[in-house]
């Protein structure tokens, strides 16, 4: 009974903010003080998905491309680093850990503004690769943080066992280590994806006006005051992450998204 009440309270608090987005996205006419839209319509959704609004679809692709590339790079660099920090003891380990996770607390704004001039000189500004690099600065530390946690509970004796049973080092990585740390990899990937997906200011500074990701488009829509379209784009914006959460719920199990922001 108390569990049910708790569930209901959490459910209402969590879902409440989605209500205005949904209502506005299908509202055609909704003047004050009407509690519900006076007329419903699909204008906003048409705008999002038709040629007239292909900008939104482009933004969706740009955001996806950036987030996926950043995530892949984060994992590629973060898994070895996380392994080193989680599994081995070496002098300066704490300092290394502190340095590698420092970008978690320092805001992207401070770093992006400093890097901008350098990126312009290196012709990285306003490029896809440049934006990936700035996102990586903040996604990589989270990946390392998660993977380190996974490896501190990891038993490398499994690897030795596999080697003694005749597996090659590469086979050990993909057939032994990878399956064991998979849940951690998924959490880390979600972390990276979400962090890159929702970056606004760093994308704006480094990407200039060229990298029109969803958050940048959304910001300009809010400025223009078109609430139905802003509502629809907001929903498009949260959908992939929500689907990813739904898809990974099985893998996450009881660990959940602890530590994600």
């Amino acid at each position: 009974m108390r569990g049910k009440t708790l569930l209901l309270c959490v459910l209402v608090s969590v879902t409440l903010p989605f209500l205005p987005l949904m209502l506005w996205s299908v509202a055609d006419k909704w003047y004050y003080p009407a509690l519900f839209p006076q007329a419903f319509g699909t204008r906003a959704w048409f705008y999002v998905f038709t040629t007239a609004g292909s900008q939104i679809l482009d933004g969706l692709f740009t955001s996806f491309g950036l987030a996926l590339t950043t995530t892949a790079a984060s994992l590629l660099l973060g898994v070895p680093a996380g392994r080193a920090l989680g599994l081995y003891d070496f002098p300066g380990k704490k300092l290394t850990m502190l340095f590698l996770t420092l970008p978690i607390i320092v805001p992207p704004l401070s770093v992006s503004m400093g890097l901008h001039l350098w990126f312009i000189r290196l012709e990285l500004a306003e490029t896809f690769f440049g934006v990936v690099l700035i996102h990586l600065t903040f996604c990589l530390p989270y990946t390392i943080f998660v993977i380190r946690g996974v490896f501190s509970n990891y038993n490398p004796d499994f690897e030795a066992q596999a080697r003694s049973l005749g597996a090659s080092p590469l086979t050990v990585i993909f057939r032994v280590m990878f399956p064991v740390i998979l849940p951690g990899i998924i959490v880390a990937a979600l972390f990276s994806f979400l962090l890159s997906w929702s970056q606004y200011l760093s994308t704006l500074i480094i990407g200039g006006g060229k990298m029109l990701t969803l958050p940048i488009l959304l910001f300009s829509l809010i400025g223009s005051g078109d609430r139905p379209v802003a509502g629809a784009v907001s929903l498009v914006f949260i959908l992939p992450a929500f689907l990813a959460l739904l898809g990974s719920a099985h893998y996450l199990g009881r660990t959940g998204l602890k530590g994600i922001r």
Partner: protein, 295 residues
């Protein structure tokens, strides 16, 4: 817990850590350093002589600086404290009543996946004078027009900013606490009960010290984030005074390119304030532990 002192060769470590260290060193360290160069007007051509603290001086002597810091601190401290308080209650309730409720776990994870920007927009649509809450009160005749609805957006107290941060950060802190509480189980609290500790005493002397480190870490991360975040105060904040990150970006993107180093300087000040306050809190905690003060 970390492994039982496994050793790796230097070669192996370089191979594992090298790429990540390089990236962070170049992009993060480099970003901050280059920012500092720009804020100090340092250029390799003229060398040390060109260094000037003028930009920092301009920022510090700006009449709005104090107000801006106060507002930013107010927003981040209040939202961190509120979120922490609610999270502790929520985490304890969940650990006690619904530790393995997968539906509840799933629902609580949703806010983690929603970008701050979207939540700022939805609370704008909910809380603004023409928003859904205002319509709701008007529908029941409690207010007569949007202007009689209390100002919750772009207001003096940053109400909507706090609401967004609290909504977004509660699940984050709660999951941090739950992971400790679930591993812990009810046993230590049972020990406390059989040693004559009342419910309140058990919370104060057992649960709080146990969740303390995680709660502290979560709060620091939330504090750091809310102190340096741009989108939410930009969308929902007052036009004057603005929070530090908003001020920094306004300067940086000013048509007057001379304002740019000032923007970078503010960005560095933000980073410095966060780093110093976190270091300070760590030192204080260590000191308190040494003195035998629990938590």
């Amino acid at each position: 817990m970390s492994g039982p002192g496994r050793k790796a060769s230097l070669h192996q470590l370089a191979y594992l850590l090298g790429p990540a260290l390089t990236i962070i060193l170049l992009l993060f360290g480099g970003g901050l350093l280059l920012g500092l160069f720009q804020a100090l007007d340092f250029s390799s051509a003229t060398g040390m002589k060109s260094i000037t603290f003028d930009h920092f001086r301009t920022v510090f002597t700006d009449p709005d600086f104090a107000g801006s810091i106060a507002l930013t601190l107010y927003i981040s401290l209040t939202s961190t404290l509120l979120a922490a308080l609610i999270s502790v209650v929520l985490a304890l309730t969940i650990a006690h009543w619904a530790a393995n409720n997968r539906i509840l776990n799933f629902i609580l994870q949703i806010p983690l996946t929603v970008p701050h920007l979207v939540i700022a927009i939805s609370f704008l649509l909910l809380l603004s004078p023409g928003g859904i809450f205002s319509r709701f009160f008007s529908f029941f005749g409690m207010i007569t027009s949007p202007s009689t609805f209390p100002l919750l957006v772009n207001d003096d107290y940053g109400i909507s900013i706090l609401v967004v941060y609290v909504w977004k950060e509660i699940p984050f802190i709660t999951f941090m606490l739950l992971s400790v509480l679930k591993n812990l189980g009810p046993e230590l609290s049972e020990v406390g009960a059989t040693l004559n500790g009342s419910r309140l005493q058990r919370f104060r002397y057992i649960t709080l010290p146990i969740i303390g480190p995680s709660l502290g870490a979560a709060c620091l991360i939330v504090f750091a984030f809310t102190f340096g975040a741009f989108e939410v105060p930009y969308l929902l904040g007052k036009t004057y005074p603005v929070s530090l990150p908003v001020w920094a970006y306004k300067n940086y993107s000013d048509i007057d390119l001379l304002a740019r180093p000032e923007g970078i300087a503010i960005g560095l000040i933000i980073a410095a304030i966060i780093t110093v306050s976190i270091t300070l809190s760590q030192v204080l905690i260590q000191f308190a532990r040494k003195r035998g003060v629990i938590l």
